[in-house]
């Protein structure tokens, strides 16, 4: 068997067998009991050459409608944002992507320093004291926040707003089940978390209250109003925040959040059909020793030079085993690097400017839709998403948009029974005026055309 990834020659093989003192490679597998031994070869597709496989997979990829060829107004937690081209050049450096967890700090200073910088940037954006080196994604980060809170408060109930991403809520419930934690949902009022309902639900059994900022409907929740209700009951305030929005919004850390989590996908990370993205996890200092996952800390070497190491590892599974605060091991390091590069490229000024562009273009879309006679369901403060009443099934409008090379918004009826016929429309800085105008035009025309049939 000759293959470009397998360097062994038949002479090598012979020499090595001699050294081992055996006749054939098969002897090395003699300890596998006859009854379980697999004979022959897997019944899978035969190997393809580099060029034919590349061609086949390029054709497969071309079957998908991608956001290079289509103007996307689909958000709902994953966004088509500006990705500085430099990001891909940095993460393509194979010293980064072919390494593993930096267990040997002397030859991993590059990765360790990059993570230390990531931790700093996330802390800065969220206004929290510290952040870890990454989680799988925003949804599992939120679930881990729930587990941390339950452990910390020794309480067994979590309240999660219905304005939190439906898929994240589902993940929270799955993790909570494992820990026998009860999860209750806080109802909505005008597309926001209902504060009065929260007051009725909360009691001293509640470990955490989870709020999304901006929420799933693109509405900016007033964290300052929620915070005292949560803390008076002795619960932890957990905020799931879009880190890009924090370029313009007051950070959760300034508004009393104990844990801020989210996904750094808006910073230079490809949509990639939902993953890999990059969860982040930031806390106040008092929760530092309960954070899941890896933390990089600064220290010095024998000569007093600054260096970075994995630290506070007593929390982690490879040391604490069944007493660990979490089972996370591999995380999303390469995407944390991507996010760091994007946050660096955007920097202090660009992050704010990009956030403002999202708000500005979203309000432009809102105005255009209103002008075209559409009702915007929730009229609060928006970040980069609005909810529009479509009068006809969203699926049909999206089909009409697709014909014009536009990917339409999210059909809220998929997750909220009461929001049938409501579309969640995302407008990022990537959407140009022409595209927004075209979107409104096609939607208006489609509704007019279908209105008759659906009336």
């Amino acid at each position: 068997m000759k293959h470009r990834y397998l360097p062994m020659t038949s002479q090598d093989e012979k020499d090595m067998l001699d050294t081992i003192g055996i006749q054939s490679i098969d002897e090395l597998f003699a300890d596998i009991p006859e009854k379980v031994r697999f004979k022959g070869e897997y019944n899978i597709k035969p190997a393809k050459s580099e060029s034919s496989l590349t061609k086949e997979l390029a054709q497969l990829a071309a079957k998908n409608a991608d956001s290079n060829r289509f103007a996307s107004f689909l958000g709902a937690g994953v966004y088509d944002h500006y990705k500085p081209i430099i990001v891909d050049h940095v993460i393509s450096r194979s010293e980064f992507y072919t390494a593993y967890t930096p267990y040997q700090p002397e030859i991993s200073q590059g990765e360790l320093q990059a993570i230390f910088e990531f931790q700093t940037m996330i802390s800065e954006l969220t206004g929290m004291d510290l952040a870890n080196s990454s989680m799988y994604d925003g949804g599992t980060a939120l679930a881990e926040a729930g587990m941390l809170a339950a452990g910390h408060t020794r309480r067994k109930k979590i309240l999660v707003s219905r304005a939190v991403h439906p898929e994240s809520r589902a993940v929270v419930r799955s993790y909570a089940l494992g820990q026998s934690i009860e999860v209750e949902e806080i109802p909505l009022k005008d597309g926001h978390t209902d504060v009065e309902a929260l007051k009725n639900l909360i009691d001293d059994n509640v470990a955490a209250v989870m709020i999304q900022y901006p929420n799933f409907f693109g509405q900016v929740e007033d964290l300052a109003v929620l915070e005292p209700v949560i803390h008076e009951a002795g619960a932890l305030f957990v905020v799931s925040a879009n880190p890009l929005a924090l370029g313009a919004l007051t950070p959760p850390g300034k508004l009393g959040a104990d844990i801020t989590v989210g996904d750094a996908q808006p910073f230079g990370i490809a949509e990639a059909f939902g993953g890999p993205h990059c969860g982040y996890f930031a806390v106040t200092k008092k929760l530092m020793r309960k954070v899941p996952g890896r933390l990089v800390g600064e220290t010095t070497d024998e000569d007093g030079r600054r260096g970075f190491v994995l630290t506070l590892q007593a929390r982690e599974q490879h040391i604490r085993r069944d007493k660990a605060t979490s089972n996370i091991c591999s995380n999303q390091a390469l995407n944390a690097l991507a996010a760091s590069v994007a946050m660096t490229a955007l920097g202090k000024v660009g992050t704010k400017q990009m956030a403002l562009q999202n708000i500005t273009k979203t309000y432009y879309m809102k105005q255009q839709l209103k002008n075209a006679g559409f009702e915007i369901a929730f009229d609060g403060a928006h970040f980069n998403e609005i909810v529009v009443k479509t009068k006809v099934p969203v699926k049909e409008i999206n089909a009409a948009l697709l014909e014009k090379a536009i990917i339409g918004g999210y059909d809220l009826g998929r997750s909220y029974d009461e929001l049938e016929g409501h579309m969640l429309v995302a407008v990022t800085e990537q959407r140009m005026k022409e595209e927004i105008d075209a979107f409104v035009q096609v939607v208006a025309a489609a509704v007019q055309e279908m209105g008759a049939t659906h009336a």
Binding site: Y5, L6, A61, K63, A65, F96, S330, T360, H382
Partner: protein, 487 residues
């Protein structure tokens, strides 16, 4: 490697520099005060860097030079399968039709992506011998938890509510007991015998009606095949428990033995290990889970279904454990793994395992005279040496690992598994040439000699890296986890 410290990016910042090029606004500007409540407008900007594009590229290039990856040199980190990461994988994962598609698009617009996922599932079913596979878990530990939650749901669905215990061998990966805890189980440890294998008598002692599952790596973390796997499966199944396969070591047995044929009920794989993910400096990974028929109803939502009209995601799964992750898993890593499997084919995957095992045995035999080999038999894809002989001379395994850095190698996994004193777990992988193995062997032998003749050079290692040994106690006692601007 460059010896000068690289400043933090925050220390290079200069007001007025930018590194971005945002799209034009084109629409009327608005005043935030008109649209946001007063207290929610950020007053102080986040202190992110202000640097030019060249500054950024130089910074990260400098950092990359202070990092060792598989492309930099040999990386025999046991249990991590640090094999070559094929470049075609990177190209394919970046095709716009894979990288720039949204998970909530209409299914008709992402059939290509769904076909790839479906076909990857089919391939993994054949490779593992399982009946169904989910690609959703993001990494190995996530797969373990997913699998255990399914086992829990299975028992509970049968009214079997008292199966509170998960058994793990003393040589298990740390994630096994941690995942058991997160899934709500209590961990029970089963001992290894003098051959480094699970002690069957001890297993019989710890199993019972409260056993939910036994988690096993096969070959185990010593690189040894659990020969009595069928007996173990019988013991677990007899008491109504399930057998869980930790796939971290699958590289050792592809085309030689399938977990599904060994009696395992649930399997997780680490696509970033066996199937060239890559490792990314710590992730992202992908940890698919395969199950036998009786566990299919509990698979996480959604499940990919093929019909005459194409592929759809099925959410109507009343017995499912629910969602384990938003969307459908780490798609980008799954694309890479699929590309790898298609590059290798059935004969290629067979050769992968054969050479991985040949390489490990060759190194083990060459090194055995110079170090203690606690379990002297053919290994699989990795083997564990003990540094206890060297420890008697005042040199610890940690010192020898640090000395290897001077030779340009990433050291083996050390002090693991826990049942070997001063352990060094070496996994060469199949993509390394005999010349590379020989050079590493020579370095190890030289270090063993140094321990006898000149131990200080080992005790004070490394000597050539950009930084010397770091004070980890200081890092943990006074944690500095972020940069703060000096006042």
């Amino acid at each position: 490697m460059h010896k000068d410290n690289q400043p933090l990016i925050f220390e290079m910042t200069k007001e007025g520099r930018i590194g971005y090029s945002l799209p034009d606004l084109e629409v009327p500007e608005i005043d935030l005060k008109d649209v946001l409540p007063e207290g929610l407008i950020r007053e102080e900007a986040a202190e992110l860097p202000e640097v030019s594009e060249l500054d950024i590229m130089r910074h990260y290039t400098a950092l990359s030079k202070r990092n060792h990856g598989v492309d930099s040199g040999f990386y025999p980190l046991g249990s991590c399968t640090m094999k070559y990461n094929p470049k075609i994988n990177e190209t394919v994962a970046r095709f716009p039709g894979f990288a720039n598609i949204h998970p909530l698009q209409e299914e008709s617009t992402v059939q290509g992506a769904m076909e790839l996922l479906f076909d990857l599932q089919e391939h993994l079913k054949e490779i593992t011998g399982m009946d169904e596979v989910t690609l959703q878990p993001a990494a190995g530990a996530h797969g373990e938890w997913t699998g255990l939650m399914m086992i829990r749901a299975y028992h509970e669905s049968r009214g079997d509510m008292n199966r509170t215990k998960v058994i793990v061998p003393d040589s298990a990966h740390g994630t096994n007991p941690a995942s058991a805890t997160v899934a709500g189980f209590e961990t029970v440890t089963v001992k290894s015998n003098e051959h480094g294998l699970v002690d069957l008598e001890d297993l019989k002692r710890v199993v019972g009606e409260d056993t939910a599952a036994l988690m096993l790596t096969n070959p185990n973390t010593l690189g040894l095949f659990e020969e009595q796997i069928l007996e173990m499966a019988a013991i677990i199944h007899e008491v109504g428990g399930k057998l869980y396969y930790d796939g971290a070591n699958l590289n050792a047995v592809m085309s030689k033995a399938r977990p599904g044929d060994m009696g395992f009920d649930v399997v997780h794989l680490n696509l970033h290990k066996t199937f060239t993910g890559p490792h990314g400096g710590g992730g992202p990974g992908s940890g698919p889970v395969g199950v036998k028929k009786d566990l299919i109803p509990y698979l996480p939502k959604p499940v990919l279904v093929k019909s005459g009209e194409g592929l759809t995601f099925d959410y109507n799964r009343p017995e499912s454990i629910g969602r384990v992750k938003p969307f459908y898993g780490n798609f980008g890593i799954n694309v890479r793994a699929y590309t790898y499997i298609r590059s290798m084919g059935p004969d290629g995957l067979k050769a992968v395992t054969e050479y991985a095992v040949l390489n490990a045995n060759y190194m083990m035999r060459k090194l055995a005279p110079h170090f203690d080999l606690p379990y002297d038999r053919h290994c699989k894809h990795e083997f564990v040496l003990s540094g206890r002989r060297q420890k008697k001379l005042g040199v610890r395994t940690l010192d020898m690992a640090k000395r290897l850095l001077d030779f340009g190698y990433h050291p083996p996994t050390i002090y693991f598994p826990l049942n070997v004193e001063e352990g060094m777990m070496i996994e060469p992988t199949e993509t390394e040439s005999k010349e590379t193995l020989d050079a590493f062997i020579d370095a190890m032998i030289q270090i063993a000699k140094e321990v006898e003749e000149n131990p200080e050079i080992v005790q004070n290692a490394p000597h050539t890296t950009v930084i010397k040994r770091l004070d980890e106690t200081q890092a943990a006692r006074k944690p500095v986890l972020r940069y703060t601007k000096a006042e």
